[in-house]
Symmetry: C3
Subunit: 261 residues, 3 copies
């Protein structure tokens, strides 16, 4: 019954290449409410593909920034009271229009009950995509949540789940695709997941099909990670090389390296 | 009537080389109120030329830090209430003495009316230099502001305007100079402009002529960018190489590469 | 009377190699309350040796994070009211158990009297280790504090002092050791000291002898610095290479390069 995103939409590598082209041409503005640890790396990842990041969380500015932007990232890392207020204002601003897609990244909700409750509330406020890891989905998805329940969750909440791991699973309730690119060094650099979520937001800004946009983002990011690992001497040079690889990525490389099922 | 800074002061490359020497010998303390995204990169840029950065915005500490420092940077990125209060306290502390020059960097005031109003107020409180891009100057400079009105604005406010773009224009009302160094990759790394403003503050700490100091800073930064681009594989390795290039920059290279008019 | 840590415990290089192995296998969780400037670099240093960083300072989350973690870092850089409150809550949570060691890094207390007072208070609340530089120790150690009074201070407070400089002195009141590894470029990269403190916290999580753990951390960090300097072109590539070097460090290299007295 469920179709592969790849099968139903044609070749995901080509979709990803088209999305990447549009990022470079359209240069979408992506407003990121993200944790302090991730801010600089996230901004540099977005800039490397052509997107324009902004990151304020000031209450008297955030609505203006969200209204100007093409997509929004809501990341719950280092989530203090000020940031929660900013998130609430930003999501309210995004909800005013259907053309302002936003991504929820419920960082480390498995470590903080109050953050988990906040994430559950946010998941009901219309994010286009929730990007998270397996530990986080076990908390967000509720009792008995497993990779097998991802699609039911996505259908129920009417959103795309992008579940990161050794392989990434992207599902929107009727379609699913698995992307097996990436490299173990990605787990050795802080904010890699956060940056993947930001890239997903950027892709949503140029591709209205949220399933395609999410799968394209994770394919692009995974392939860049593989390329970076080939020249890296460790996680320090790897982080630098990921940014370079995103900047230089082309359609032929995406086609050649994609591991999509 | 208006003289080139370069013509009036002799060779800017030599001035810049002298400023760089003084940075390395005197190691000025530069207190930076800057956005979270820019903090680490800014600190590393300052350290690469020998300056000593500090970055607290805590209300009960900031006056002590500003009193100890040799120059101050006020950057309005991610400008929340706490940071505005810190800025107010820092500028008040800096105003107590004429020997504590400060740089205003009105980041993204074109995106936030409240931030623009704050920037206009600060521009009236005696910054030695305002460093900003064209979009930001259009807002700060008021109705009809263009690159042609930069000098009138600088004269009126009794400060130096350092207007960044493909070429950088530095003007203090009676003198002007254009620096055409730099590289397009500089726009692909977050906090490059913020770091240029911090470097300007550092140069003000060792060169009392604010026009010279500003022009020297942007020449040094632009030449470092060009050198970095020669070995970079993309914006990731470029950001790293800019820091290395600043650390290694010498007078001969400045003379050889300077594009000053 | 005082014995060398090295002499009394056998070869420090071997101890450090064992600690490094345990970091890679056990992957301890280290909660870091640290300044914004240092967060990303600190997280990447921890990840490079296998530790898992977390960094929230939110009052309604921090106790949960500290309870889950294996060691805690309290760094006083950019120390605002929110961060002080977080520190108080974190230390209270850590004090509930003897198995939750914490490191105090009193950054720049020589520049801020209020921060110095806070640091003195914290030093009395049971940190396993205080890691700091000479200027900071002169303030923390009180009237007449010098490197010669480090051991008396450590004995009096029942903690380990790790005093960083051209050589690092580690003392716990009955034992002392000097580690002379490291490289001058370490002073040209922001957050190097902060990262050394975080690495110390990680080592405390896998080595119950706090003197050994501290000395191992600074030996590991210093040797990584030396290796990084061999390929670096300046402080930018040096910072990247330090992370790579930590990731690749092995027992043979530690033995070969250690300068321990």
């Amino acid at each position: 019954m469920q179709k592969s995103l790849d099968a139903s939409f044609g070749a995901l590598p080509q979709i990803a290449a088209d999305v990447l082209d549009r990022l470079r041409v359209n240069r979408p503005a992506v407003h990121c409410i993200t944790n302090n640890v991730a801010q600089a790396f996230t901004a540099n990842i977005l800039l490397s593909v052509g997107a324009t990041p902004s990151m304020t969380i000031s209450p008297d500015e955030i609505a203006a920034f969200v209204e100007c932007c093409d997509a929004l990232l809501v990341n719950l890392g280092t989530c203090d009271a000020e940031r929660r207020k900013a998130i609430d204002m930003a999501v309210t601003a995004a909800q005013k229009t259907t053309s302002k897609p936003w991504v929820l990244d419920p960082v480390l909700i498995d470590r903080s009950p109050s953050r988990a409750a906040f994430a559950r509330d946010l998941a009901g406020r219309g994010p286009a995509v929730v990007r998270l890891n397996h530990d986080e989905f076990r908390v967000l998805g509720g009792e008995g949540a497993t990779p097998q329940t991802v699609e039911a969750y996505a259908r129920d909440k009417a959103l795309v789940v992008a579940l990161s791991g050794a392989s990434d699973l992207i599902a929107d309730g009727t379609r699913r695709v698995t992307v097996s690119n990436g490299h173990p060094l990605m787990a050795r650099v802080t904010a890699m997941g956060c940056a993947a979520s930001a890239l997903t937001a950027a892709c949503l800004a140029v591709e209205p099909d949220t399933g395609r946009a999410s799968a394209a983002a994770l394919l692009i990011f995974g392939v860049a990670g593989e390329i970076a690992a080939e020249t890296a001497h460790g996680p320090g040079s790897f982080a630098v090389a990921v940014i370079d690889a995103l900047f230089n990525l082309d359609a032929a490389t995406l086609r050649q390296r994609a591991k999509v099922m």
